[in-house]
Structures are given as C-alpha cells and as structure tokens.
C-alpha cells in the first residue's frame, strides 16, 4: 500500500501538475464567480484542453476547477444577489441580506472556509468508502451491474428531479441517443440512416459541451433581466471570526457535510440539490429559525459545506461503478474512458496509485482553496465587472473549436450546437437535463450487462434476482419505482374513506 501511495505522490507533485492545478484553480474561481457560467460548464470547457494531457493532470484540472467554482459561486451571491453557480442559489438571498447588514466579509468568509471544510469531509468519505465498496464490487457480475445501473437511473429520475414523468422522458431519450451506432452487443448499426459519421455513435463530449455550455449562452443572449449592481463595500479580513463560527456550529457543519456527501453520491443529484436540501434542513432544525432569510450565517455554514462535500461524494459511484453521481462526474467518466482509466473496481486493484492520486488531488484542491479563494474575494469587484458581452461570444467560439478538437470533424460541432438548442428547449419546457445525460453515459452499460446476463442465464429472467446482492438491488430498485405511487394511492383511498358519509 505505501508503495502505491509513494507513486501517487510522485504523480501529483510534479511541476507540470502543480502548474495545471494553479491554472485550473484560477479558471474555476473565475467561472464560478461570473453569473451564468456554472461548474459543470467549467468542466465541459476543460475537456478539450485536458484531452491533450496525461490522465492525472487532466483529472487534477477538473477536480480543482470544480471545487473552486462551487465556492466562488458564493461571491456574486453575496455582492450581486445573483448566484454564480446553481449550487449557491439556495443561500444567495441570505448572503445578500448579510451584505446589506454590512457583514459581507462574514458571509464570504463562511462560504470560503466551510466550503473547504465540507470538501475535505467529502474527500475523507471518498477515501474510506470508495476502496471498501470497490472490494465488495469485485464480486459483482453482470446481474449486479445491471441492477446498479438501473437503480442509478431510477434515482436520477424519481429522487433527483421534481418532474419524474418528464425526467423519465429525457432518460429514455438519453438511452436512445446512447444506442446510436455500432457500439452494441450485436454490433448492428442502429439509427445511423446511412451516415458514416453516426456509425461511431454520438460523441459524449460535444453533446455535453452543447447541453451545459451552449444552452447557457442561448439563455444569456435572450435574457431580459438587467444586470445587477455590485454592492460597494470594503471587505476586510474574511477569516475573522471563522473559528468562532466553527465552534458555534459544529453540528451544522457535520450535518451539512454528511448530507452533501450522500446527495452527491446519489446518481443525478449534485451540489445544487445538496445545498437546497441542507439549507432547508438547517432552517428546520435550527434553534433560531426565525432569523433565516434576514442575514443569518447558520444556513450558509451548513449548506456551504454541503455543496462542496457533494462534489467529492459524486466521485464515489463514478470511480467504483462508473455511475456518475452528478453532471460533473458524468463528464469525468467520459474523460476517464478517453484516458484508458476505465472506472470500475479493478481500477482500485490494478492501478491503486491512480486512485490515491485522485484522493491527493481532492485534498490539495480543498487546501489551496483557502489562499486562492481569499485572493479571489479581494479581486471580486474586478471579476464581477468583466464584460460578459465579450466573454459569452468568446466562450461560444471556444466551445466550437473544443468540440472540433476531439475528432477534428465538423460533425461534432453540429452535434454540439443541436444539443445546445435541444437542452435549451427542453429546459424551457420543464424537462430536466440530468436524466438525459445519465442515460447517454450509462446506456451502453445497461444494455451490455442486460444482454450478457440474458445469454448467461439462457433467457431465464429469474436469474436476475437469484444471486443475493442482485436480488437485493433489484428489490430496492422496484421499491423506488412503486413505493411513491402506491403511497399516493393509499393516501387517496384513505382520504376518500374519510370523506365518505358514516
């Protein structure tokens, strides 16, 4: 074990890798701080660049950029009342109210410090849980994987969105997109309509760049809301009073980090949902809930640590099973496949140094967040004044070149642009995007494991539930499907009985 750790240190502490991490940090801080640019978008924009890097620097870039972006999304929340990323939306009003009371430095400091704390907590869970799960998962066969993938997709539809029916539709569309091309167990060209470009399937990377970056730019171009005005307030030492907060709210920090890690690990739900849920939980369990919304720091402490811990949590299913915990890891899985670091339990046994290197990257990213985040807060006014009318067109051109760079074909540019418009239209009609992405990422895995299970069992469906773990996973999945409608039916019947005359 210690040898693998030494190798991991060697992989991480190279001058090139440190350079990449610092660069990615600045990039992530900037993207997070500019409203309208999200952490997922940062990841999508990084992919064309990481494409040309060795595996560890590529992962380093994504890990650091996303951690920084989720923190720096708090900055415009406090100063502009606009969340920098959706993950800060839950407590934007609270942070802005604090700024109005002249407490901007406390709001920003709490965002920074407890982001790092939450991130480190999530990393610790990742370091303990992932190898344990991987050891367990070594015994998994196609039956277990089939159920795992199905359960992941089920979570993405029924737990992670408030629109299960529409989520189901986008999930099916995603699975359908995954089925395009030759890449299926029978190697039969499906839905190619005679196009050679479609034989290889629809590229995951152009699709993601389109759905997460281009759609945001469309939204920016047609946006009607005026830009906010920056609160001009001297920001002193943001670290002042943070120790006091940590002593005052230890339970909140622990609760937020735990909930965040769990939500992150749940497929489809990421930092934004983690922040909303833990803010609500903080308010419900607080001793002074009446203060929430008036510029009270407690909720920021709790949900600020939740959204950063969710980032690390999302890597647990991604590394162990290849099932993304959020939209960022959905892209990461694509990158891992490109780098021949296929996710799965064998990654932990054959190349443990790579996994340890990922752990180290997470620790470093959350530690350097403190000084770099402090600098970013100092420069916040400058960053928030960046001319977005110049920035957005440049990002769009960058997306085009980036999609082209993967395979050097114009076809991928077209895929990206269409994906951007589709994502925009779907979201305008309340169809959630994440199930679609999960469908595309997991479609082949679902079908492959189903087909090889069917071949192994000679078509006997009972084989899917006859192994103990497969059976348990199967029952759990079916419970998630049928429990909510069954409960609704029972409640309706009870209501009818209560309303009936006696």
């Amino acid at each position: 074990m210690s040898e693998a750790w030494l190798q991991a240190f060697g992989l991480v502490f190279t001058p090139y890798n440190i350079f990449v991490m610092v660069g990615a940090s600045l990039f992530g801080l900037f993207v997070g701080a500019v409203p309208g640019l999200t952490a997922t978008m940062a990841t999508a924009l990084l992919v064309p660049v990481t494409f040309f890097m060795a595996p560890i620097p590529a992962i380093a870039a994504i890990v650091t950029a996303t951690a920084m972006a989720i923190f720096s999304g708090d900055i415009p929340g406090a100063l502009l009342r606009m969340p920098g990323t959706p993950a800060s939306a839950a407590y934007t009003d609270e942070a802005y109210a604090m700024t109005k009371k002249g407490m901007a430095e406390t709001a920003l400091g709490a965002g920074l410090v407890f982001s790092a704390v939450g991130g480190l907590f999530g990393t610790a869970v990742l370091m303990v849980a992932a190898p344990t799960l991987a050891e367990f998962a070594l015994n998994f066969s196609s039956y277990e994987y089939f159920w795992l993938v199905l359960m992941g997709l089920t979570c993405a539809v029924f737990i992670s969105t408030d629109q299960p029916l529409k989520g189901l539709v986008t999930l099916f569309l995603g699975l359908l997109i995954a089925g395009v091309g030759l890449n299926n167990p029978a190697a039969f060209p499906r839905f190619t309509f005679g196009s050679t470009n479609l034989l290889g399937g629809i590229g995951l990377i152009p699709l993601m760049i389109g759905m997460f970056a281009v759609s945001e730019i469309i939204r920016y171009v047609v946006n009607l809301e005026p830009e906010g005005t920056i609160v001009d307030q001297p920001i002193g030492n943001v670290f002042k009073g943070m120790w006091g907060l940590a002593v005052k709210y230890p339970k909140q920090i622990l609760r937020g980090s735990t909930l965040g890690t769990l939500i992150g690990a749940l497929p489809g739900a990421g930092a934004d949902i983690a922040a909303w849920m833990s803010y609500a939980m903080s308010k419900r369990l607080s001793k002074e809930p009446e203060k929430f919304g008036t510029g009270h720091v407690e909720g920021i402490v709790e949900s600020g640590s939740a959204n950063n811990s969710a980032l690390a949590g999302a890597w647990i299913p991604a590394l162990v099973f290849g099932i993304p915990g959020d939209s960022i890891t959905a892209i990461v899985i694509g990158v891992l496949y490109m780098k021949n670091m296929n996710p799965g339990p064998t990654l932990f046994t054959t190349n443990p140094q790579n996994i340890y290197a990922v752990f180290l990257l997470f620790i470093i990213a959350n530690l350097i967040m403190l000084p770099l985040g402090w600098l970013c807060i100092k420069a916040a006014k400058r960053i928030l004044q960046v001319p977005r009318e110049v920035l957005m067109p440049v990002i769009l051109l960058f997306c085009i070149v980036g999609s082209f760079a993967i395979n050097n074909t114009g076809f991928d540019i077209a895929i990206m642009l269409i994906a951007g418009v589709v994502a925009y239209v779907l979201e305008a009609n309340d169809f959630p995007i994440t199930p679609l992405i999960l469908g595309v990422v997991l479609g082949a895995m679902l079908e492959d494991n189903f087909v090889s299970s069917m071949i192994k069992s000679d078509g006997n469906l009972l084989a899917f539930v006859s192994r103990p773990i497969a059976g348990t996973l199967g029952v759990l999945t079916l419970l998630i499907w049928f429990l909510p409608p069954a409960r609704r039916l029972l409640a309706a019947r009870r209501a009818r009985r209560a309303a009936a005359p006696h």
Binding site: P48, V169, F188, R190, V222, L224, V390, P393, N429, M454
Partner: protein
C-alpha cells in the same frame, strides 16, 4: 417556446411508435432471445407510454385553464426586439460557421462570428472588430499552435503561420 404537455405527449407517442416500427427491421440473432432491436423497442414503448400520460396531463391543464393551458406559449423575449435579433444572429453565425469555415478559414470566419455576436450584445462599436480579430487569433494560437488542432486556413492558406 413552451408547448402544452399534450403536444409533447403526441410527439412522443409518434416517436415511440415509429421507433417500434423501425426496430422490426432489425435482425434477430439465432439462438438468442435478445437482439439489437429489444432495447430500442422497450424505449419506444416507454416513450409512447410517457407520451400518453403527458397527453392526459396536458388536456387536463387545458380544461383547468391557468398556467400551461395555452397550446403554445412564446417566451417573453419573443416580444423584445433586441433579444429576438440576438437569437437570430446566434443561429445565423453558427450556420455560417459550419458552412464557411473550410472555405474562408478559421480566422476570417471566427472574426465575423465574434464581431456579429458582440455587435448584437452592444459592445462599443469602435472596439468590435479589433476585439473580435484579436480574440480569434488568440483562440487560434491556443488550439492550432499549442494543442495542434488542424483548424482550417481557407483563403488565408498562402499566409499560414
């Protein structure tokens, strides 16, 4: 553009149905229960079923009135001239890029692309062309020189650097 759920539902039923018809033409694999048509077939049924539920929901919304009752609701920005123009330019420059980049080359196409978008987003007129050119050259440098992506030169081939 927000369409009533019933319209989405109808479209999905159509999609699911044609999917089912289409996969009948897929080959079966002798001695196996599962061929390449099975999964898309299931998806077709699933999409059609969801479509049916959406039709029911959409019709209910229409009879109930209120939000979501209209067959088709244009977005607010459709009435704002600048945003409408912005959207049109956005579509136009991307079509232009796809059509013209191989012939005109990346630098010219990219400059026009950025300039048009910056124009509609109200960058100061004096700055538009120099900014667009400088930023295009910067992106070109990063990808062509540093990452060695073969961006086309087009008509500028003679002065390629």
């Amino acid at each position: 553009m927000k369409l009533n759920d019933a319209l989405w539902g109808a479209a999905l039923i159509l999609l699911g149905g044609s999917l089912l018809v289409h996969v009948q033409g897929f080959p079966r694999i002798p001695g196996q229960q599962v061929g390449p048509g099975l999964f898309p077939g299931i998806l077709g049924i699933g999409l059609a079923a969801c479509g049916l539920l959406l039709v029911v929901r959409g019709v209910r919304q229409r009879t109930a009135g209120g939000a979501g009752a209209a067959w088709c609701q244009l977005p607010e920005w459709a009435h704002a001239p600048r945003q409408r123009l912005g959207f049109a330019i956005l579509v136009a420059v991307n079509v232009l890029y796809l059509m013209a980049v191989d012939r005109l080359g990346f630098i010219l196409t990219g400059t026009v692309y950025l300039a048009a978008l910056m124009g509609v987003l109200r960058v100061r007129t004096m700055l538009i062309v120099p900014l667009a050119l400088a930023l295009t050259v910067a992106i070109h440098y990063a990808f062509y020189k540093l990452l060695r992506v073969p961006l086309p030169w087009g008509v500028l081939q003679p002065i390629a650097w």
